[in-house]
């Protein structure tokens, strides 16, 4: 009975939503309001105004940079939330289930991870630094960086993982995302421009483009390193088990 009522109500909601989406302009058309209002300027002028060949990167970092600043803060918030619920790991008090299990890690896994780990990190750096020219960017690279931390810890044990990525440095690197945004954004205030402006007319004309790229690079690296560290720290907080 109760189930029937729920299904019926959801069916009504479904009909409403489907009616809403089929009233939209046809998908894939280039005449839609979404494609003709704001987008043309992005497609035509982004390379010149934003300074990135990848238009999505240009939108994320330049036109809608404030959103991305909020987004980076969301990642940071997620970490703080997880820590507030579960608590930070402590090298003296905690170990992990992987470490406690009696199954021996195979040599193949260990050698492969040892061999691949540098390349994974290199690839992550490539993705971070190449975000302006090709698909990729800080978030994607950061996720790969975080994955490398997780793979390393799962193979070589929790204790070694905690030793290799010590808390001392992680605490600072976790806030790299919001802070790099702040550093790059606040420069413009001293030139009398609005927050997060990267094109600074108050410096020598010859260096303007260089400075813009530098500021964007600081942000990309900050997002990448911050994101990767946050993912690693969340993993450590979730994986830990109290020692006997």
């Amino acid at each position: 009975m109760k189930k029937g009522v729920i299904i019926f109500a959801l069916f009504l909601l479904w009909v409403l939503l489907v009616a809403a989406v089929i009233a939209l302009p046809p998908m894939g058309s280039s005449e839609t309001p979404a494609y003709t209002h704001v987008v043309p300027r992005y497609l035509e002028k982004e390379v010149e105004e934003g300074g990135a060949n990848n238009i999505v990167t240009g939108i994320i970092l330049n036109y809608r940079g404030y959103d991305t600043m909020g987004e980076v803060t969301v990642i940071f918030t997620a970490l703080i939330c997880v820590l507030a619920v579960l608590g930070r790991e402590n090298i003296k008090r905690h170990t992990s289930k992987v470490e406690l299990s009696s199954v021996e890690k195979s040599v193949i896994v260990k050698s492969v991870v040892r061999l691949l780990a540098p390349f994974i990190i290199l690839f992550a750096l490539y993705i971070i630094l190449h975000g302006a020219e090709s698909p990729g960017g800080g978030f994607q690279g950061g996720a790969i960086l975080g994955a490398s931390v997780i793979v390393f810890t799962l193979t070589f044990g929790f204790t070694l993982g905690m030793k290799k990525f010590p808390l001392k440095y992680r605490t600072i690197l976790e806030s790299a995302g919001p802070l790099s945004f702040f550093i790059s954004g606040v420069v413009a205030l001293f030139c009398g421009l609005n927050f997060l402006t990267y094109m600074l007319p108050c410096i020598n004309h010859a260096y303007q483009d260089l400075v813009r790229h530098l500021l964007l690079l600081i942000i990309e690296i900050g997002i990448g390193i911050g994101g990767g560290t946050v993912i690693g720290s969340i993993f450590f907080a979730m994986e830990k088990v109290e020692k006997e």
Partner: protein, 124 residues
């Protein structure tokens, strides 16, 4: 609208319809499943459905990925880049919600030893 028109619209906007169906499936999962992890998977289905909807709405027939550079001729049609930028943010937000929800689930399991919502209600 006549039935034929509606049918036509349904096929043209097929991605949108699928996205909305997934939205409802996710909502049903949250309401009906007692297990917290399943509830929360329903939430992820809902999130993905919204992302699917937004990304599909940026598609343009014959459009290329919006990257300018060598080898891209001047007259190329690009897809709408805004939905992609928005969904990048959306995915990050979804990941953050996931992390917090999993942390809460871990804590609940440590404290109560069960993840069944009906049993958890009795524990009080």
């Amino acid at each position: 609208m006549s039935p034929a028109e509606i049918l036509n619209k349904l096929t043209v906007n097929f991605n949108y319809v699928v996205a909305m169906t997934l939205f409802i499936i996710g909502l049903y999962t949250i309401i009906s499943k007692p297990n917290l992890i399943k509830k929360f998977m329903g939430l992820n289905i809902m999130e993905t459905s919204v992302f699917l909807f937004v990304v599909s709405s940026g598609a343009v027939m014959g459009g290329k990925a919006p990257i300018v550079g060598e080898g891209v001729s001047p007259g190329t049609v690009f897809v709408n880049p805004i939905p992609q930028a928005l969904i990048l943010t959306g995915i990050v937000v979804a990941m953050s919600t996931t992390a917090l929800a999993l942390a809460l689930i871990i804590k609940l399991y440590e404290q109560c030893g069960t993840l069944n919502a009906d049993k958890l209600k009795e524990i009080k």
